[in-house]
């Protein structure tokens, strides 16, 4: 168990180091995210709908895009990793490989989110500081859900010709429960509503994370078997 975690961390560290050496993907993801946020400002009628009504949805659609980008850039690394797969034969290593990939993707997506969040607060004039801690918790929980399922889907999509198209087609239905929950909880946080109102959604989000992380760990090895 400990060995698996250590191996996972090593794999994640390797991926993250590779990623930050070139930084192109990260910077592109940041720019894309900033542009999406900016475009959202114009994608509405300011006289009809206030920004605060749309804000939670805008935040989470933006984060979903960020997650897609993060998972997509992993494809390039994937092809380099082919050589590594041959070395990883034991079931424990396969779990470690999956967890390592998830961790690396979490670092990437999390970093983009960390910069996008203050930008979002700025563009849409949303006071996030009073609710920062629960907000970060929700973002973390939902992102874990996205990335866990997304990493599994990526490992299948990477072997198809149009991988970047295949990934959203496979993944998006699975993002409905975490995104819906995250938007509803975020909306209540922004509106200053009592947290008890969001408990149902929080339970759904946590339940989703638990079930799907376990399922993905179980099924990951079926996606890389030779």
């Amino acid at each position: 168990m400990l060995e698996t975690l250590r191996l996972a961390l090593a794999i994640a560290a390797k991926d993250v180091r590779l990623e930050f050496r070139s930084r192109t993907a990260f910077v592109s993801a940041l720019v894309f995210t900033a542009l999406v946020l900016a475009i959202f400002n114009f994608a509405r009628d300011p006289t009809a709908v206030s920004a605060s009504d749309l804000a939670p949805g805008i935040l989470w659609i933006t984060f979903t895009f960020a997650a897609m980008l993060g998972l997509n850039r992993a494809f390039g690394l994937e092809r380099e990793n082919r050589a590594l797969d041959g070395l990883l034969l034991s079931p424990a290593s396969r779990t470690a490989l999956y967890l390592g990939k998830v961790l690396a993707n979490l670092v990437f997506v999390g970093s983009v989110e960390a910069i996008a969040l203050p930008l979002f607060a700025l563009f849409f004039n949303v006071p996030i500081l009073p609710v920062l801690l629960p907000l970060v918790l929700v973002i973390a929980l939902a992102t874990v859900g996205f990335v866990a399922v997304g990493t599994l889907m990526s490992s299948m999509a990477v072997n198809t010709r149009l991988a970047e198209l295949m990934l959203p087609v496979l993944l998006l239905p699975f993002l409905v429960p975490p995104v819906t929950s995250a938007v509803q909880i975020t909306a209540r946080l922004f509106a200053g509503r009592p947290f008890s109102e969001a408990l149902g959604w929080l339970r759904l989000l946590v339940g989703y994370d638990v079930i799907f992380v376990v399922a993905c760990i179980l099924f990951f090895e079926s996606t890389i078997e030779e």
Partner: protein, 235 residues
């Protein structure tokens, strides 16, 4: 008998079953349209129910079969299970599409809107997307073993997704009441209507089974021919 001949025989033998099934569907149509009384509050459009609900039952049945077959495949690795799951997904897709088409046509006159994000329609929509992803994935992966494994994983995850979508919609709906012009509600069905509905269930399930048998035989045939060719190439 070679696998190829076996599959060809099943194909031939299933054609009469399909014909019978189509005739039975016509019988359901006649019974529903002519011999079943109208529902006074909803009007004639209520009769869409007799096509929509049995189709939905089959769609969910198919999805369940794909899920279960996928699990068994991951344990047994028998390629026939994969072919069966894929055939079920394809045939199931047809029934799911029928649900998504008849649903809004029923919804417009009854609820005043073509689409509502009610629990069942939403769940059916996402089922449709997952099966579509499943079928697209299969066309995009060429190695049969890999294709089978990927399909199985997607099939199982898709089945796991169902309760979560259901809960999401339920939680969502308790906040947003549905637009309502006429409330269909859940009345207890009078005998005539219940009989028609049950007849519909039986017939649509039979249609599903017949089409599935044919589709599966087609898959086995294609598979057998591919193997025969591969053997000839080796020789």
């Amino acid at each position: 008998m070679t696998p190829t001949e076996q599959a060809e025989r099943t194909l031939r033998r299933t054609v009469p079953l399909i014909v019978v099934a189509v005739v039975l569907v016509a019988a359901v149509y006649v019974r529903a349209l002519v011999f079943t009384p109208y529902e006074m509050v909803q009007g004639p459009a209520q009769k869409i129910f007799y096509i929509h609900v049995p189709s939905a039952w089959v769609a969910f049945l198919a999805f369940g079969i794909v899920g279960v077959t996928s699990v068994v495949y991951l344990f047994l690795k028998d390629p026939r299970l994969d072919l069966f799951a894929a055939s079920t997904a394809e045939v199931g897709m047809v029934f799911t599409t029928a649900v998504l088409v008849t649903g809004p046509i029923w919804g417009k006159p009854i609820w005043g809107t073509w689409w509502t994000w009610d629990a069942r329609l939403t769940l059916t929509l996402f089922l449709w997307f997952v099966i579509l992803g499943y079928l697209i994935l299969r066309t995009a992966v060429h190695e049969p073993g890999q294709r089978a494994r990927y399909s199985a994983v997607l099939g199982i995850l898709g089945a796991l997704l169902v309760p979560f979508i259901h809960i999401s919609v339920y939680l969502f709906r308790t906040m947003h009441p549905m637009p309502v012009v006429l409330r269909p509600g859940r009345p207890t069905l009078p005998g005539e209507m219940l009989a028609t509905l049950l007849f519909g269930f039986a017939v649509f399930t039979f249609l599903f089974a017949a089409l599935l048998r044919y589709r599966y035989a087609l898959a086995r045939l294609a598979d057998a021919r591919a193997h025969a060719e591969a053997e000839r190439a080796d020789a």
